[in-house]
Amino acid sequence: MVFILREYLLGNIAIAKGILEAGAGVVSGYPGTPSSEIVDFLAPLAKEHGIHVEWSVNEKVAMEVAIGASWTGTRSVVTMKHVGLNVAADPFMTLAYLGVGGGMVVISADDPYCHSSQNEQDSRRYASFARVPCLDPADPQEARDMILRAFALSEEFGVPVMLRPTTRVSHARADVEVGSPGKRMDKPSFEKNPAKRVALPVHARPLHVELLDKQTGIEAALAEEPWNRFEMKSEVGVIASGIAGLYAEEAIAELEADISLLRIGAYPMPRKMVGDFLERVEKVLVIEEMDPVVEEFAEMVAKERNPKVEILGKRSGAVPSVGELDPLTVRNAIAGMIDLPRRAAPKMNREVLSILPPRPPALCPGCSHRATYYAMRKAFGKDAVFPNDIGCYTMGVGMGTVDTCLCMGASITVGTGIRFGGEEKGICAVLGDSTFLHSGLTGLLNAAYNDARMTVTILDNSITAMTGHQPHPGTGCTACGETSPALSLEDICRSLGAGFVETTDPYDLESAIDAFERARDHPGLSVVVAKQACVISAIRSGVRRPRLKVDEEKCGGCKICVKFGCPAIEFDGEVAKINALCSGCGVCAQICPQKAIEVVK
């Protein structure tokens, strides 16, 4: 008997509960906003439910773990953010050929507007690229419902199914109906079947044919899904997908307009349904987050079914092509189509807003990355090249030590390329411990192998901080809190071929600068591990350091400490002051030329 409960849940938690309901046995992932809370929620429940939940080393690894699990017949899930799918694209593309055993769901959370990302790529393109179904939830309830359906679809057609929530679904909350956890499959086992599990050319060729043959059935099944539906009201229509469908529904209700609406929530799209809709309208507006996937499809179907229909959308400029949609933008696009007045967002006078100080996200008070950057700059000078990476530390961009940021792990490899491209100045690449273990290892190996003269700094705060403090192999424990083998970054770097490897404590500035100078002067590849616990995790684990204060008599008002950029240091016009945010790292005391900063006794 299934009990249905109604709870106020975050989209990602609704997804996680759906995963439990579906009786999944293995859940893997790599943290990435906006996807992280799924594994965060499930990990502490793993034991109780007898399932395996892991933070994997990276998304490719996570995908392959989930694939292996699926091949035993166990239902599995892999979670990541959109750009994580680039890392996992290799197994993902060929998995579509080989197919799944137990149902497998790939959750790739998209981030329109790059709230916390380096690009705005659309995962739906990957699903169609791999020719696998994609479900596009509009809200937390749909996300939970779709998870259950995704497993069934995956098993019916033998392909992985993608769930593609966007930020405003993953991080939305709603009252959601969820059922009780399901049972995981009994007696899983891996059955040998080379024709389906070994991607040799001789197998891949017929598997490609099989995958294409499955498409008709997949499309027919998805056409029946409740998430693809339309309501005819007039010869003016809107086609909207995912969360845009909900924005459109609200806008039509608010405008009290007679507009036909076709909502799309599953891909490949229902060709017949889209055609039937297009046949009955004269003008249609297509609204969707990110790429014009639905729009291009509607244009294609219109050629066959109703070439005269006027299609508005991103290509006509009626809907923005970049950034994130919101209800007002959607409302105004719909109003504009039917010649109703647009409603302007209340305009705040520019001058009025200009009095507001910007509030960009910043490194925390006492964050050791700030100290490391300070020491690096002292040793290398401001003209050195500082290739950077993905993590909290990218927020140090104002300190002059973040010269590049491309994708996970690229600091070392881009730095290598900058060296071989002909740059002769000092090069000091920087990446975090989790990022290094995710995809920096191969770059370091490559730099050593090809003899790149440069320094690599690993900011070792023993946690994946930016995404919400997830553990990784360097922290000594797993997602579920089990102890994991001890790992030495120093030993790894030496084994990979770095000729100079040293660990330093960035809170001890003098010795950190000294370590960077020696690394800089090393004639080959050098590594500095700047080791200090993330200040948030330190506070959470009970570390209390005495706070600091400024001796106003001694302070000369030079602002050197203020420019250091710690949010705990303020300037009152004449002297510096240390506020209540101080976590006691003591670095400011070391940079003060007047020795005016001291520990509060």
Binding site: R6, E7, Y8, T33, P34, E37, H115, S116, A138, D139, R168, H171, A172, R173, A174, D175, I243, L246, Y247, E249, E250, A253, E254, E256, D326, P327, L328, R331, R343, A344, A345, P346, M348, N349, V352, L353, I355, L356, P357, P358, R359, P360, P361, A362, L363, C364, C392, M395, M466, T467, G468, K559, V562, K563, G565, P567, I569, E570, F571, N579
Partner: protein
């Protein structure tokens, strides 16, 4: 046609407990049998950046509130109130904590922080009512500055289509038992402030 009973935009600075307010209202709405939607800021902006949460009570659509659509702007920090003032409906109400949290741009001297009056004056022009209060001070009076968010929740309570007893029930389910008394006091002080 209105598509939600009550739309509240909660703004502040990462770490001010904005998410807890959403959590309490969400629970209370469910206890009251109302549908509820919310959306939160997670990720990068949480690191001391500016954060905005949307909460819609009695709404079956998306969690996002349109600019110009909020019935209440609940600001945990004064500068953030003005930054998100365009969310307010002309009939809307702004509830503002007057205690600033200085951004790094101010502490490092790159930018300066305006006076509270400079912030409140333009705010008064875009909505029907502005209530300014030292919620942080009131929270300290209740027993802990950490309860600033609950003072603000108390001030918000009369604008919500939810009974106070239901809100209190949700509050006691959400905050740890040992802080319940402080939070009750904080709620009451916030409520009195707007009477």
């Amino acid at each position: 046609m209105r598509t939600s009973k009550c739309d509240v935009v909660v703004v502040g600075v990462g770490g001010q407990g904005v998410i807890l307010i959403s959590e309490i209202i969400g629970r209370a709405a469910m206890l009251a049998g109302l549908s509820v939607r919310g959306v939160e800021t997670h990720g990068m902006a949480q690191r001391g950046g500016s954060v905005i949460n949307h909460i819609r009570v009695g709404c079956d659509y998306s969690a996002m509130i349109s600019p110009g659509g909020a019935d209440v702007l609940l600001a945990m920090e004064p500068a953030e109130a003005l930054r998100y003032a365009h969310y307010l409906s002309p009939e809307g109400v702004a509830l503002v904590n007057t205690k600033p949290v200085m951004p790094v741009t101010v502490t490092t001297g790159v930018a300066s922080y305006p006076s509270i009056e400079e912030i409140l004056a333009p705010l008064r022009e875009v909505c029907s009512q502005v209530w300014a209060m030292d919620a942080t001070g009131l929270a300290a009076k209740a027993g802990s500055p950490q309860a600033t968010n609950v003072v603000m929740l108390g001030a918000l309570s009369k604008h919500l289509p939810i009974e106070e007893t239901t809100l209190m029930e949700a509050l006691s389910e959400t905050v740890p038992a040992r802080f319940l008394e402080i939070n009750r006091k904080a709620f009451e002080l916030g409520k009195i402030e707007v009477e």
